[in-house]
Subunit: 384 residues, 2 copies
């Protein structure tokens, strides 16, 4: 395996009833900005649980953080943080709310001009407001990592940044939040977590059996538990296993010491930026194309995925690769997520636009940095 | 799965050549106490690498920390820390040196009487000197956890304590340190890591597929990579995979949210305390007895271990349990570790002594706290 550094100090507080511990985990005397999204936390009781636990703190609220959180919205929160001398951010929501709050935390302390540069120019994050999270939707892994993705509506750009400074101080994971989630959000979460693992696994072998087997463990668990959650939203064990899988899928552990891909995400972000397609759905569209177009480069790992996760044992290498791509695609479809561009009314015109954008950016993506405009065209044409 | 809290802030710096980063990871201006064991670090070049990296710090050395570090020895280091106003402890060694250094770190700050109470009465650790580690022997996992075991020679007591305050700030894991290890230490490390996983896995099912599969991943990797390391000590990939397995075996992750046993360790500690048998060897002796005597209570998980790790698929439940115990025992023996008490010249007299000691302590061990003097007698008699 490669040399690596790994550090993840996020305190995970996991299990039913644990939201009541949020107040005890926030530094005494903090002035809190409570961030949330569209308001589902008012319906599922999470808001009430959180408020009861932080009743001894001074709290200001900032709701309305969108899916694919908008830079424009988040900057309003940054102003509020500065004006109100906020000392702690408490995000209550899914990956978008947590990601958005990470950006607020960094932008409020940014001293080198326009905070947009944190995203556009990867300007270093010198400092950030302390932040804790109450997760309401297992999917992105943001609750236990250093990354965030933010969208600028004005320019249709969806960009990411990473900094250890924005890792949550703690994250509370109560699987019961899943009980009231709409089917679509659960399905998105399953696919999102699945593809997070794939991006750190489906590259080329570097003799890393622990990382490989941990990755396969998460994939197998998502394949088993995901459908159980969809079939019975109040199956606590299935909810808990799904939730822990999604966190482990992107907390840095399985990616330590191994090559990583992320081409599916980079291409998928453009589909969200131009068409507003849910993040997870863009991954379900793009991944089969990446597997197909990069089948030679990824051959050893696709065969390993087929054998160890999907039980694909027979046939020539090519047949086994096809079968593995098919099983992966069918899994996405089985949880209700279509995998072709026309399913989302996206035409070849968008392919041109995305290829032009990557051409202008001038860099290539993927574990060997060899996926540029030409390969992206092939990948997306495979999904027409 | 059970509710749990999990937090592990230790920074892992992994790979060949990484020991040179030790100085850069120690707070500037620290006055360092460099702790080590019997002096192997002078022969394998680790001492020179460390010293070159920390040349800008004021450093005092404390060598001679024994395997199963002695309270009596460690208290001399505590005096030195106080007298010299040490602000950072740098342990360079295996689990014994790191464990000993954790105790030094806590004892030097202990304000409630005799520091022995940290072990004997589990007195809370309010504070500890900052501590970093350079690991020279993969085995105990101490480099990435909060626990330590210390032996008091005077009373033949081997006791443990745990505190987040003594977790290393960083640990450097360079697999090349394995190249010069004696066969016996490698074999001990393999068995130690293996049994750490078993203690957190071989209990009863609580529907925790991530934890189970991660545990099985580590066991399978140890079974594969351990013999490779023994056969060719300079196989870097095998060394790296063995080293990462041993760390992951006891950093809290696979034990989060599941029942844990630790009876094998508790009984094994007594064999070390009375006969000086290497820690790992005591585990290899005791575990098969625990599996046999608790075969009904552990039935589901022994069958799962047999099926998923050892490929034991055929026969009645009882036959499969026997075969799984046999394969586990044979694995220990295959790396050169005998598993019976007479192999270490231990007689039934010691069994009486150990049972009396547990009787006097008055508590029972194991995942259901139902292993007391009577069960311990059966377990150890099984190993005669």
């Amino acid at each position: 395996m490669y040399n690596f550094e790994y550090q993840n100090p996020v305190k995970i507080i996991f299990g039913k009833g644990e939201i009541s511990k949020v107040g005890a985990n926030i530094p005494k005397g903090s002035k809190i900005l409570l961030t949330y999204g569209g308001g589902s936390i008012f319906k599922n009781g999470v808001y009430d649980q959180v408020k009861a636990s932080i009743k001894d703190f001074e709290v200001i609220e900032f709701g309305g953080i969108e899916p694919n959180p908008h830079y424009e919205t988040l900057m309003k929160a940054v102003d509020m943080v500065k004006k109100e001398n906020i000392t702690f951010l408490l995000s209550v929501g899914g990956g978008s709310v947590i990601d958005g709050t990470k950006f607020i935390a960094a932008a409020a302390c940014f001293k080198h001009g326009d905070p947009w540069n944190i995203l556009a120019k990867r300007a270093p994050v010198d400092d950030a407001i302390l932040h804790g999270a109450v997760l309401t939707l297992p999917a992105t892994g943001s609750e236990m990592n250093s990354g965030a993705v933010v969208t600028r509506i004005e320019t249709k750009e969806k960009l990411s940044f990473m900094s250890p400074k924005v890792m949550p101080l703690f994250s509370i994971l109560d699987p019961e939040v899943i009980f009231s989630l709409p089917e679509k959000q659960v399905a998105n979460g399953i696919v999102d977590a699945f593809v997070h693992v794939i991006e750190q696994y489906l590259t080329f072998p570097v003799d890393s059996p622990i990382q490989d087997r941990f990755a396969e463990s998460i994939l197998k668990t998502l394949i088993e538990e995901g459908p159980k959650v969809l079939a019975n939203r109040t199956d606590y064990n299935a909810a808990a296993n799904f939730m822990w899988s999604a966190t482990m899928a992107l907390n840095g552990l399985i990616g330590a010491g191994v090559p990583q891909d992320w081409a599916t995400h980079m291409i998928g972000h453009e589909l969200t930026a131009y068409h507003g397609i849910d993040h997870a759905r863009t991954l379900a569209i793009v991944l089969p194309g990446v597997m197909h177009i990069k089948r030679e480069q990824k051959k050893d790992k696709i065969l390993q995925l087929g054998e160890r996760v999907w039980g694909v044992l027979d046939g020539t290498d090519d047949e086994r690769i096809n079968e593995t791509i098919l099983k992966t695609t069918k899994f996405f479809e089985s949880v209700g997520i279509p995998t072709k561009l026309p399913d989302y009314s996206v035409t070849s015109e968008t392919i041109d636009t995305i290829c032009t954008r990557f051409k202008n950016r001038g860099y290539k993506v993927g574990e060997k940095a060899n996926i540029g405009p030409n390969e992206i065209r092939l990948i997306l044409e495979d999904r027409l």
